[in-house]
């Protein structure tokens, strides 16, 4: 773990455990995320990555362990309270509000953001416009959300989350379904977000994205953390190659 993460983590998780009936999905996982770092989270399908994100965003309650965000224990808080504190996420299966414009989809994010969000729809729309421009969706402002194609839907997920003005943004597989060039564009967007002072946790199976984005990478397998460190160290770790990467990409 980096020194920064030890001295003043933005988020700290200790002993997080989640069971679904008999199945142990996440088993005593501890980690910290430093302010303004990008932490990559990789691991085989079914390793517990999304479950971990669900516990951080508040949609799942852990069976054991605690989460501390900016010094405050948040383990018992519902998702909207965590959003007010500055935690936002995107979803693996994209979830735009159907039948609403791109502008209003993003405005909803602005209404529920850090510190309670904007108080009036007019301001929420103003703020939404900014993030729509930032994510490159300006020409789709008035389009209905469901009319957007794949990569633009991903950008909408970003805009909705960013309108919440998060301190910490959790990205669950935003590269899935994008081709290599679209992936490069998404990497650039994530770097731009980080440059604005947002800390990021990035779940991804696309290794070129993980390599070029992550300050640190952690690896889950069967609900347990099996490796953690710099991308170079982790992606050359024999356990990670055996469990996840395969020899061809090592």
């Amino acid at each position: 773990m980096s020194e920064a993460a030890l001295s003043q983590p933005l988020l700290q998780a200790r002993g997080l455990t989640k069971r679904f009936q008999g199945l142990l999905s996440v088993n005593r996982v501890s980690f910290a995320i430093a302010e303004n770092e990008i932490l990559g989270l990789i691991g085989p399908n079914g390793a517990g990555k999304t479950t971990l994100v669900n516990m951080m965003s508040g949609t799942l309650k852990p069976n054991a362990g605690e989460i501390i965000f900016r010094g405050t224990p948040i383990t018992a808080l519902p998702p909207f309270r965590r959003a007010h504190l500055g935690i936002a996420r995107t979803f693996q299966v994209m979830k735009p509000f159907q039948g609403m414009s791109v502008l209003d989809n993003v405005a909803v994010g602005a209404l529920f953001g850090q510190g309670g969000g904007e108080k009036a729809m007019r301001q929420a729309r103003e703020s939404a416009r900014e993030w729509i421009t930032f994510t490159g969706l300006a020409r789709h402002l008035d389009a209905r959300a469901e009319a957007l194609g794949g990569p633009d839907r991903k950008r909408l997920e970003f805009a909705k989350a960013l309108a919440m003005r998060p301190k910490l943004l959790l990205l669950d597989e935003v590269m899935a379904g994008l081709n290599p060039v679209e992936i490069d564009e998404m990497v650039d967007l994530i770097k731009k977000i980080c440059a604005r002072g947002v800390t990021l946790l990035v779940i991804e199976h696309v290794m070129k994205a993980i390599r070029s984005l992550s300050d640190r990478v952690m690896v889950l397998r069967n609900g347990e953390m099996i490796a953690e460190g710099t991308p170079d160290d982790v992606l050359s770790d024999p356990r990670v190659i055996e469990a996840y990467l395969g020899a061809r990409r090592a």
Binding site: I42, G46, G149, L178, N179, P180, E182, H205, G246
Partner: protein
Amino acid sequence: MSGPLLEIADLHAGYGAVPILFGIDLHINEGEIVCLVGSNGAGKTTLLRAISRLIRARGVLRFAGEDLLPMKPEEAFARGLVQVPEGRQLFGHMSVEDNLLMGAYRRRDKNIAESFARVYELFPILKSRRTQLAGNMSGGEQQMCAMARALMANPRLLVIDEMSLGLAPLVVDQLLAVLKEIRAQGVTVLLVEQDVFAAFSVADRAYIMETGRVVRDGPVADLAENRIVREAYLGGAA
């Protein structure tokens, strides 16, 4: 049979009044692995839907010499044109074994047991999970189950949409190895794939689509060397 297994010429298709495909030319020879790449929205899935006869199309569309255009999806399916859909579309509340049986529901022959043996050999994990509900498996296992279900239909042409979507690198490699094995068993493969590196590692030839047209095609080795293709589809170094 002389000529390609799948022959497409000047194929047009769309949704209602909205045209999506503008004169596609494409062929697949028996025993080939051909991949289809292109940006989101290029029309790849629409082309697959036209091939599988899920949407209307006009032009030339022939499978093993037969005209596919007047056929319904189940008629194309019965001739061995089988698709693995994007997102797997398994029957989540049915067991793995029952999902596989669904793949064989059109067959009247008595060799279903052999087919089970064949897919369990290709995907040993499915055998150990055969009584488990398909919906409870990991993404990689579900993709294996979807491919195995398609193989239970005894396809001549296996059409796979977005095989690697959301899958861990090691699983993608395992699936690519299975594709080579399937081809060695005599199945022809059309693969639509966003992971162009993965697709090029197993395919013989590729077609590149942009805005409803094929803009380039050829052996994957040639395309991978092409500067325009590299810039547009492969991006920066892996």
